[in-house]
Amino acid sequence: MFDDLTDAESKALAQCRHAILGTEQPMRLDCGVDLGPFRMAYQTYGTLNADKSNAVLICHPLTCDQFVAERHPVTGKEGWWESLVGPGKVLDPARYYIICVNVLGHCMGSTGPLARDPATGQPWSLRFPVVTVADMVRAQAALLDHLGIPDLFCVIGGSMGGMQVLEWAATYPRRVFSAVPIACASHHSAQNIAFHEVGRQAIMADPEWKGGDYRQHDTAPARGLAVARMTAHITYLSEQALQRKFGRALQNRDALGFGFDADFQVESYLRHQGSTFVDRFDANSYLYITRAMDYFDLAAAHGGVLANAFKGSPTRFCLMSFTSDWLFPTHESREVVHALNAAAANVSFVEIASDKGHDAFLLDEPEMFRTLSGFLQGAAGARGLRNGS
């Protein structure tokens, strides 16, 4: 199960920690399959304090991973949330013990379709069980048990990370002191499922995909995955951001080429996004993780009433959305806020003005940092967490 790593997995595992879980007792997934043993790759920053009260779990979005605040072992780029995490930043490792776990089904070291089925010794590929956001969170909870961390000062994440935050708060309310779901929703909308389906169809239409068994054929559906990424990337931006960045500007030319090269800068940009993505992401993983997001529906899992998911919750919530985010628009965050109010939970909600679309949560948004810093300060006071402890 644990040999036969891809180049990217080897580099990832060499730069982070991992644990083998589910050896004694497999983990029951939502689909009914028992998974075990399985590997969870994770990264930590800072030190767990003596009373174990300063642990912060960062839940990563679809295409990011556990390398939050350091040079990425595969891409060489800086960490995806370095604007937020680091010395002197809002999430300072001098104060918090920060953990980020590569989600189940992903391809940066945690078990997913790249791994081998321990029962058959064959690569899982599409035989890997379909995992859900709840399964991802269950696996994270199992890892925290393994690490002896009873509860979390804060669980924070954006997009799919935000879905995990909501799932954490709903499933393990006593283990979550504060929760910060950013730019997310309690369920994936029809439009979002539709965009994911386009991406999946692009992958599966690539002849190199080979029914998911491309590794056995020593190939990869790179073009399909690149198209999937290009489509998805558009949904992360906004019309204003695209207009501001590119407009109709031409790429390395003075006049239209009357052909199908990347005449426009926006085309060149998307092609670049697509081609670099395939170096760090596995196509089958992309199918599984997008599926997990599509399946997410927190209300459905609680008798159709979202407020039931948060009944009696002791957690302090802070939700944030962005004005130009059309993938997870503000009204979807507000739906969660209404449910939290109906459950009389402690909730703050801020909509941040930004023209950067869904991606705003990954970018330098001073208003987001200010809000988060104030919220964490208040929560730390309530938790009795000392400055710099």
Binding site: N341, A342, S348, E351, I352, E367, T371, F375, G378
Partner: protein, 203 residues
């Protein structure tokens, strides 16, 4: 504990009505001055609702639990008796349906604390009767065409509404133009009082 920081006198009066250690919702909490006071000096589990996004963001950045919301529409989301106090300070006259808002406040809270400007204040009366113009006073500073205050009432009007709603007035304080409490018979209070603070409870 440090000395209580100073807040507006009318807010201080409201704060004084709140028993320590309970749960309170401040509807239209503005920049969170009252909320912060309740949290810091009365150990109240205090939450806020505010219409302006700038106000909400400022509150949350100060560590207060505040959401963006509208008194007219968003109180419905809260369960019955979720709070010991629901506070509405200087906002009732700007709601679309003041009576419905009061009903919601008294459903969500065991008690409601409401403060509002008195439209029967002598300056208001003089300006309308003798000036022939819509009143502009320190507590009602807007022009008729840009005022957010669409449902103004007098202290006596408010008492009548409470009777009509069969709501018990536990306390009422009338304030003069310096926001100092005054103790006068009702008829005079309705003439001299510039604003009033009421604490209500369901029967």
């Amino acid at each position: 504990m440090s000395q209580p920081s100073s807040i507006r006198v009318d807010l201080q009066l409201i704060a004084d009505m709140v028993e320590p250690g309970g749960r309170a919702l401040d509807v239209g909490c503005g920049d969170g001055a009252l909320l912060a006071y309740l949290v810091d000096f009365k150990r109240v589990d205090a939450r806020g609702m505010e219409l302006s996004q700038a106000g909400v963001n400022a509150c949350v950045a100060n560590g207060l639990s505040v959401i963006q919301g509208d008194a007219d529409t968003d109180l419905r989301d809260y369960p019955d008796s979720a709070f010991d106090y629901v506070i509405l300070s200087q906002t009732l006259q700007a709601t679309r349906e003041p009576r419905a808002v009061l009903e919601q406040m008294l459903r969500v809270g065991k008690r409601a604390i409401v403060s509002f400007p008195n439209f029967a204040h002598w300056q208001v009366r003089l300006r309308l009767v003798f000036g022939g113009r819509m009143p502009e006073t320190p507590s009602l500073p807007h022009k008729w065409y840009d005022t957010p205050n669409i449902h103004l009432c007098s202290i006596d009007d408010f008492r009548a509404l409470c009777r009509d709603m069969k709501v018990t007035v536990e306390r009422s304080i009338v304030l003069n133009r310096n926001s100092r409490p005054i103790n006068l018979p009702p008829l005079l209070a309705n003439l001299v009082g510039e604003q009033a603070v009421f604490m209500l409870r369901r029967d």
